[in-house]
């Protein structure tokens, strides 16, 4: 025990003497853990919300009956089916806005708990009779998630009002309620939502659905059966979004570990003599490595704790934007506040320990293999340098081969990430080799003595600075790649919106009867064009999709660009023949090409139209199909239009709006104008990428910190290298400027490598990752101004990183420099 204690004391004394290195290791672990755990917290929170949403009415998996277009339908159908012996239970679900909380998006769900399929649980609870009476009897209850209650600023028992003046039953918090959902008795829901005798869907038990019952003749075509698992695909839909966040978090983790590796490696070099002394005094190799591991573990716990706390804060800051993106893109509701399990905290610390082990393993191994009797001097740098470069080059080559294999033969998102990782790792490891080659060539051609020293010394610093430069390369490349992709997407998306959103108004009828009425009334209003569309929700090979029927109109030919088309007149073929057009992502998911036939389930059996066109449908996680309306109505004859796109003289819009609101009681949620739709779409886009942009900037910041710590760590040993020059007549000011120049040169050369790497990364993101994750391909666009801005930012970050070490050098007194020449006499 004494040996252990004394060994630890001796080892820990190093950090007291070298606080900068101690700070470096802690900072690296803190940054690495912070960003990765922050991303994990975001993803974990989202997935928990999805699970709650899908288990709102859980227990036994159920099937459901709903209208093909997803609209509400008459309660009478529920009564008819019950009379026919169907054990159905009604559910009404719609958006709700509360007075004083108009900005909060809420869903009101009304259920009939007495008729729920047996074994059903409500928000994770199986209700007993008393609870059921409490729920349905006066005054009733409104179940709500505690996080939603808090977001509303209300207390239990409160009775908020809807915008139409209806009062909700007293609120009751339930732990397992999905965020953003209010659960009431269906009668209350019908009243509050202003949908008397309307139902959204009818729940069926799985066992009954498994018998494949046929709907009564009068209801066939009006309702369609959906098995459980088809409706709630949030986890599947959002998988790609979360994977991309994970990738960014992991990148930051790796960059942070670079800092740790550099600092631990330096600590090992400086304690070589101490290790030999301890060994000579009788400390075994095993005990020494054990003590070093304990030391590393202690540092990991300290850095990890700081990282987990700041990861939580980071996630709290980013959660609103991420939640808004998920809501806008996928309709997924995520709680606005973090509620993380203790497991998350422990896993964060575990990550820090793992990271420290990964970063420090090499040093532990070298400490274990240190020969007892060898001189304490390090090997000649030149030979070690050459060997190190050769090793780097080999590993980079292996990474390149792996990347090539992934590119040529990979066909999944995971392969896409392997390609990107191989590209980044290969480039990072090649960087010192490239820099060394360039500097070596320049040294031979330099004309001045200080220039020669400048370049030769730069080359000698490479091993010490290479990790920081690699981190800078990765961060810059990620910024260039992600920035190019985001800006390219923004431009493509904006152009696409301009082309597609040409109608001035979009009207969504409340119910089929209103749709029929609008279909007759709108053409009488002297509009430029009335473009009705019919919609059916379908499932194709497990993927949710919306099938739209449209009329034949020049508007589609002029404003609906196709990425691919079969023949010269695809829109004519859409009218005349049994044909279909698909969104790009759906075509990829179903692995269909032009000319293939697609099988669409209909109430009258499978329908196999031919694929004649593929179009872009950015931002839509569901599939999108387009057919001629007449063909659609052959299979769904009872369908009414779900939307009307109206071309109208802008000056006439106010009058038409007034007429629509007066005659049909359509509120703002049912009538959307083009500007609002474009604005909303753009806002979703911006919020989606705001988290990405934030993480990118933080990663660049981490790389800057890595560079700063590397420069600071080696500033002490630099004194011994610079003192002879000072002695030979180079002033301190010159030395400072030369050092700054060296850092800038290395950063500039790194930037030069980062540019093509970043563009290659952008290509990967546009053509591989995006396609695998979301299904659509983006054109590669280069934005020179963006690159110039990033270059400026990188040089500024380098200046800031080197400022303090340079200032220290400038302020170094001759006495400190003289100490380099000191000897015993």
């Amino acid at each position: 025990m004494d040996v252990l204690r004394e060994t630890l004391r001796a080892l820990l004394s190093h950090w007291r003497q070298h606080p900068v290195q101690f700070f470096s290791v802690l900072t690296g672990l803190w940054l690495a853990t912070s960003l990765l755990t922050g991303v994990q917290a975001l993803n974990s929170q989202a997935r928990e919300s999805y699970a709650r949403a899908s288990q709102l009415i859980g227990g036994e998996p159920q099937a459901s009956l709903s209208a093909p277009n997803g609209a509400t339908f008459s309660q009478g159908m529920f009564v008819d089916l019950r009379r026919a012996g169907w054990p159905v239970s009604p559910v009404l679900q719609a958006r709700l806005q509360l007075k004083g909380h108009e900005d909060l998006r809420l869903q009101l769900m009304g259920i009939e708990p007495l008729s729920l399929p047996s074994g059903s649980a409500l928000a994770g609870q199986h209700l007993d009779m008393a609870q059921m009476v409490d729920f349905v009897g006066p005054p009733g209850r409104t179940w709500i998630a505690p996080s939603t209650l808090q977001a509303l600023g209300l207390r239990e028992g409160a009775q908020p009002q809807s915008l139409n003046g209806q009062t909700l039953p007293p609120l009751r918090g339930q732990v397992d309620m999905a965020p953003g959902v209010l659960l009431v008795d269906i009668g209350v829901a019908q009243q509050v939502l202003g949908l008397p005798a309307q139902v959204s869907r009818l729940l069926l038990s799985r066992d009954f659905a498994a018998t494949e019952p046929r709907l009564p003749a009068e209801l066939a075509g009006q309702l369609q059966l959906k098995r459980s698992g088809e409706e709630n695909n949030l986890a599947r839909l959002t998988e790609s979004f979360h994977l991309n966040l994970d990738a960014l978090g992991f990148l930051s983790f790796v960059v942070g570990l670079f800092i740790v590796h550099a600092a631990i490696g330096l600590a090992l070099e400086q304690r070589r003599g101490l290790f030999r002394t301890l060994r000579a005094c009788g400390v075994s190799v095993r005990r020494l490595v054990f003590c070093l591991s304990l030391e590393l573990g202690g540092l990991a716990l300290l850095g990890g704790m700081a990282g987990v706390v700041s990861g939580y804060l980071l996630a709290s800051l980013l959660l609103p934007d991420v939640a808004a993106s998920l809501r806008g893109l996928y309709g997924a509701e995520v709680a606005g506040q973090l509620s993380l399990s203790p497991l998350w905290w422990f896993s964060g610390l575990g990550l820090s320990l793992l990271g420290a082990l990964l970063a420090g393993a090499n040093s532990l191994l070298r400490a274990a293999q240190l020969p007892l009797l060898a001189l304490a001097n390090p090997q000649a740098w030149h030979q070690a340098h050459a060997r190190w470069l050769l090793r780097q080059a080999w590993v980079a080559a292996v990474a390149a081969v792996i990347g090539l294999i992934a590119l040529l033969w990979g066909d999944s998102l995971a392969c896409g990430f392997v390609l990107m990782a191989a590209l980044l790792i290969g480039a990072a490891l090649s960087l010192p080799v490239l820099l060394d080659a360039v500097l070596n060539r320049l040294v031979r051609r330099s004309w001045s003595v200080l220039g020669q020293w400048f370049l030769a010394d730069c080359r000698q610093q490479l091993p010490a600075l290479s990790l920081a430069l690699m981190a800078l390369l990765l961060a810059l490349a990620a910024n260039i790649g992600a920035g190019s992709m985001t800006a390219g997407f923004r431009q493509t998306f904006s152009d696409w919106l301009e082309q597609r959103l040409t109608a001035e108004l979009y009207v969504n009828p409340q119910n089929p009867a209103q749709a029929t009425e609008l279909q007759q009334w709108l053409p009488e209003q002297h509009l430029s064009a009335v473009l009705p569309s019919w919609q059916v929700a379908v499932s194709l090979q497990g993927w949710p999709a919306d099938l739209y029927g449209v009329i034949d109109h020049p508007a589609y030919r002029e404003h609906w660009p196709l990425l691919e088309a079969l023949g010269e007149h695809p829109w004519d073929q859409l009218v005349a023949h049994d044909t279909v057009m698909l969104s790009e992502q759906l075509a990829r998911r179903l692995k269909l090409r032009l000319g293939d036939h697609l099988s669409i389930p209909t109430p009258q059996g499978a329908w196999s139209p031919q694929l004649i066109g593929i179009y872009a449908d950015y931002g839509n996680p569901k599939g999108h199909l387009l057919v001629n309306a007449e063909h659609l109505l052959r299979y769904w004859p009872q369908l009414t239009p779900s939307r009307f796109n109206l071309r109208i003289d802008p000056a006439q819009i106010p009058a038409l709006l007034t007429a629509l609101q007066t005659r049909f009681a359509l509120d703002d949620s049912r009538i959307v104008d083009q500007a609002r739709l474009k604005g909303w779409s753009t806002q979703v886009f911006e919020r989606t990428f705001s988290a990405t942009a934030a993480l990118n900037s933080l990663t660049l910041g981490v790389a800057g910190v890595a560079l700063f710590i590397s420069l600071l760590t080696q500033s002490q040993s630099r004194l011994g290298q610079l003192a002879p020059l000072w002695a030979l007549g180079v002033t301190r000011r010159q030395l400072m400027l030369l050092n700054l120049g060296q850092t800038w040169l290395l950063a500039l050369l790194t930037l030069v490598v980062a540019l093509p790497l970043g563009l290659a990364l952008a290509w990967c993101l546009d053509t591989v990752i995006n396609v695998q994750a979301f299904g659509w391909r983006l054109p590669l666009r280069v934005f020179p101004l963006q690159l110039v801005e990033l270059m400026g930012l990188a040089m500024l970050a380098t200046l800031l990183a080197s400022a303090w070490p340079l200032f220290k050098l400038y302020r170094t007194q001759p006495a400190d420099l003289l100490r380099s020449f000191a000897h015993e006499d």
């Binding site: 000649a380 740098w381 003595v449 030769a456 290298q721 030979l728 001759p814 003289l818």
Partner: protein, 222 residues
């Protein structure tokens, strides 16, 4: 040529100011050689550093010709070291990132006095012909000191300052280096001031002085 008058130097320590030099007077004629001796901590290296312009006197003056070190600013001191002084240290202090050939030429090129013929002569006399492409860490101690010597002499300084140049070397190598140093001095106009605590080494120089109690005591001439 080198005149040191009444030089005082003290350093601040946690225990209070430490007076290292207390009124040192020294004279070194052009082309001559002087051994500066004294016990450990007597201030030999301090005096050498002051003469080299690496540090500044508290009181007194150091002059060579019409140049006075105590009146120079940092830039002028740097110029002084570049053009007037050649420095040889006990620990060689070569530039690790440059090859031997470049180390040899370094100071001469800094001073704008790079003479290829003179350098070739030094290389031949110092026996460095086969080592020019190597890096300092690939050389033995004796070899490194020969390179350091060559670097110091390549710029043909007026004054060569050597701080225990043979202190890290074994006796045989030490003699070798010293022989070379004295031979090369004959070929150049440089004067030599060498710090040493070896009487054997000191005996080979023209004069020797002893630093004791912060003052010089004349230890005699050869």
């Amino acid at each position: 040529m080198l005149e040191v008058h009444g030089v005082f130097k003290r350093y601040a320590t946690p225990q209070g100011p430490l007076a290292v030099l207390q009124g040192v007077d020294l004279h070194l004629a052009q082309g001559s050689s002087l051994a500066l001796m004294g016990e450990s901590g007597s201030g030999k290296s301090t005096l050498l550093h002051l003469i080299a312009g690496l540090d500044k006197v508290d009181r007194g003056s150091i002059r060579m010709g019409n140049q006075r070190l105590e009146q120079m600013n940092e830039g002028q001191l740097a110029n002084w070291r570049r053009t007037e002084i050649g420095l040889v240290f006990q620990q060689y202090n070569l530039i690790g990132s440059l090859r031997v050939e470049d180390n040899l030429a370094f100071q001469a090129r800094l001073a704008g006095r790079h003479d290829l013929r003179w350098q070739a002569h030094l290389v031949a006399r110092l026996g460095l012909g086969d080592l020019l492409e190597r890096y300092p860490e690939q050389l033995s101690g004796g070899q490194q000191q020969r390179v350091a010597l060559g670097r110091a002499l390549a710029s043909r300084p007026r004054l060569l300052l050597a701080d225990e140049p043979t202190g890290s070397l074994d006796e045989h190598t030490s003699d070798e280096v010293l022989d070379l140093l004295l031979e090369l001095l004959d070929d150049s106009p440089s004067s030599l001031l060498m710090v040493t605590h070896s009487p054997r080494v000191a005996a080979r120089l023209a004069e020797k002085v002893l630093l004791h109690g912060g003052r010089l005591v004349d230890a005699g001439q050869r």
